[in-house]
């Protein structure tokens, strides 16, 4: 659709609809200018519209004149009533089609100096201040020593299919906990169970200090927030209206202030009056994140929060998660981005229907992989078996003619000893380094082993 390039419109849905209609009609610039601003504004209370601008008053005047004329001139005719009804119906249709935002809407786009333009990429200090304001009023609902989540033998079966099998773990208050696993591993099912959306087949859990039980459903949901993988926004509503709805569901005091803070925390302060349907996927994701922060929850479940975001936006979300950690919010992070989990999470769990492992990323590395040193020389060693028979080296293998991998118990003892031995043997050393294993190596090792065991 060709939109007129000269149009600078306020981003309300009414305007967008009008522009679409005008564009379809061929969009002469005069019509665009004429319809650039709303003709009517919805009343704060009750039904109806208030004319604004000369167009609105002109339409109102014409409608009143027509109705009065019909009643007066057709006094003796039975057609006068249908004519008046017709006039009223047409007037209502015009007001509906050209109506702008409700009078009481905070900072309606046409009232904003920048017309509601986005302020993307400002970030930083403002975001952190907004986050601080957002989380400053939280009253702890449980003892600080009490874990935010305690899951014991949680199992979920859908008919014959076992989705989650005997999963147990706990998450400390204020911890960022990564929940990793391949597609279909049961991550989302676990989150849904903990969010009281679905009932476990067996097992128990405590969520934000409350026993996972249907009777506690509302109380648990009051203390947590879930950002689902699909943002799930009402596309016909504006960003602020979406958040306003959830503020009402959480019965928040001062909802407008909190909405402002939540939007500032995700750097969307300038987009409050944009219809969600006009936002990109990344921006919708950020609105969903703002919605999750709105109620200042004790535990936030984030399901793939950076999915679909560009690197800059992903980094902003990651900084936001860091900010949440600083503010003592427990974050339960489901992600496929292992480098993200490694950077953000205090501990991670790797799930593949059943729990494969839980621990700090460095702990998991130590647990799964033996410590090793990689030695590279310019030329092959004449007798490596003699060189590598030193303190701290448990074994060795040659990966290449000039690359040797040594299994060591403690790199701090082995590395200097190996260096001395190489120098003594007259070897030309190119590099000597401790072999690094990423969380991805840990993940692949565990998940591959699990898949092999299953087959």
């Amino acid at each position: 659709m060709n939109r007129p390039s000269t149009c600078r419109c306020s981003p309300t849905e009414g305007t967008i609809v009008r522009l679409e209609v005008v564009a379809e009609l061929g969009c002469p610039n005069e019509i665009v200018r004429l319809m650039d601003r709303p003709w009517f504004r919805r009343r704060r209370v009750g039904l109806g519209w208030r004319p604004i601008g000369w167009q609105g008053w002109l339409v109102t005047g014409v409608a009143v004149a027509l109705a009065a004329g019909a009643l007066t001139l057709l006094h003796a005719s039975s057609a006068r009533v249908p004519i008046v009804i017709l006039v009223v119906a047409v007037y209502a249709a015009v007001a509906l089609a050209t109506g702008g935002a409700r009078s009481a809407d905070p900072a309606a786009p046409e009232d904003q100096p920048n017309g509601g333009e986005a302020e993307i990429g400002v970030g930083g200090v403002e975001q952190r201040l907004a986050l601080r304001a957002l989380t400053s009023g939280r009253v702890s609902t449980s003892s600080p020593d009490e874990p935010a989540l305690v899951v014991e033998h949680l199992t979920k079966r859908f008919g014959e299919r076992l989705a989650v099998d005997d999963v147990s773990f706990s998450v400390a208050a204020g911890e960022v906990f990564g929940f990793l696993g391949p597609n279909g591993a049961g991550k989302t099912t676990t989150v849904r169970m903990l969010a009281t959306l679905i009932a476990p087949t067996s097992g128990t859990a405590r969520v934000a200090g409350l026993l996972l039980d249907p009777a506690n459903g509302v109380d648990i949901r009051q203390r947590i927030a879930v950002m689902t993988e699909n943002p799930g926004l009402y596309l016909r509503l504006t960003v602020a209206e979406n958040l306003e709805f959830f503020a009402g569901l959480y019965e928040l005091a001062q909802p407008k202030a909190r909405i402002g803070q939540a939007l500032a925390a995700v750097n969307l302060g300038g987009r409050a009056n944009d219809p969600c349907g006009s936002l990109s996927k990344g921006l919708r994701q950020r609105v969903a994140l703002a919605r999750a922060l709105l109620s200042d929850p004790a535990v936030v479940f984030l399901d793939e929060p950076t999915s679909g975001l560009d690197p800059v936006a992903s980094r902003e979300v990651q900084e936001l998660i860091d900010g949440l950690r600083e503010r003592g919010v427990t974050v339960f992070l489901t992600t496929h981005r292992l480098e993200e989990a490694e950077r953000l999470c205090d501990r991670v769990a790797i799930l593949n229907t059943s729990m494969l492992t839980v621990g700090r990323p460095d702990e998991l590395r130590d647990r799964l992989f033996t410590k090793s040193l990689v030695v590279r020389t310019v030329a092959p060693l004449a007798s490596p078996e003699r060189v590598f028979t030193v303190a701290g080296v448990d074994g060795w293998r040659a990966d290449d003619t000039t690359r040797y991998v040594l299994t060591v118990s403690d790199a701090r003892i082995a590395a200097p000893a190996v260096t001395r031995a190489l120098v003594a043997a007259g070897a030309d050393l190119l590099s000597l380094a401790e072999e690094q294993h990423s969380l991805e190596d840990v993940y692949l090792e565990l998940v591959d082993d699990d898949v092999e065991a299953a087959t």
Partner: protein, 265 residues
């Protein structure tokens, strides 16, 4: 039950309707047709018409006006749950601290208020038109008090029935279109009921009107309870029925003590 949450749901629903041309169109066109038809009928009746002729004509008008609260809400009500599920907005709502009964009441109220307002507005227009321009014999029949009372009482009650049926279907339907078709079909039996009143096969005396209204109110309340029980978060999210924890525990207890039920062991 929280009034604030219910109001939030109503406000959100109404905002969504207002910006959905399909909903606005459906809610506007049908009542508009049902307004024009009675007007034409009324103003065609001459002063010399006999009583039965007038009663038949007014019966038709009355029927049309009672069809509006039956026909308008199902479109909205049938969309209310399955529509949200289809557009992916249901799961975030269900993770908020809102009870099923609050959510359903909010959705029902959002469908109820415009439907009833439209019907009453049309009725008011018809009454005003009759008062101003119709033949005297028509005025007498239209302004018959039991007839007026029946119209005023049954409009909201029929709308409620239609809404709860629509929402009930919406909680179990797999697709929005299926839900809307089923809800429309499910509202049809009410037409029989309204026909009986409109054509005065059930004479709308004041006691009968009140009695029938009370019966309809009781039926509406029962429907609300039934629909609230039909609302299963797990089924809506995953497509599977809720695990009945109590039943499972009960079963487990009996498995632990097999002798009690005469089982093996």
């Amino acid at each position: 039950m929280s009034g604030k949450r219910i109001v939030s749901v109503v406000r959100k629903e109404v905002r969504e309707f207002r910006r959905n041309r399909f909903v606005i169109g459906t809610m506007a066109v049908l009542p508009f047709i049902f307004l024009i038809t009675p007007m034409l009928t009324i103003f065609k009746i001459p002063e010399s018409s006999t009583g039965p002729q007038v009663k038949a004509a007014v019966g038709t008008i009355s029927l049309l006006l009672l069809i509006v609260p039956i026909a308008v809400p199902p479109v909205i009500a049938a969309y209310s749950v399955v529509g949200e599920r289809d557009q992916g907005t249901l799961e975030p709502v269900l993770t908020a601290p809102v009870r099923a009964s609050e959510l359903l009441l909010g959705k029902a109220a959002a469908a109820f208020l415009p439907s009833v307002a439209i019907t009453y507005a049309i009725y008011l227009v018809v009454l005003t038109s009759v008062r101003l321009g119709a033949a005297h014999v028509v005025r007498t029949v239209v302004f018959h008090p039991p007839q007026l009372l029946a119209q005023i009482l049954f409009t909201p009650l029929l709308a409620l029935w239609s809404i709860w049926v629509g929402i009930g279907i919406s909680t179990r339907a797999s697709d929005v279109r299926v839900a809307q078709q089923l809800a429309t079909v499910a509202s049809l039996p009410l037409l029989g009921f309204t026909s009986l009143i409109s054509f005065q096969l059930i004479k709308p005396s004041v006691p009968i009107a009140i009695g029938l209204a009370l019966a309809l109110l009781a039926a509406d309340t029962a429907l609300w309870r039934i629909v609230s029980r039909l609302f299963d978060r797990e089924r809506l999210i995953t497509g599977h029925r809720r695990t009945d924890v109590r039943a499972r525990d009960h079963e487990a207890a009996h498995q632990a003590r097999p002798g009690e039920r005469g089982g093996p062991g």
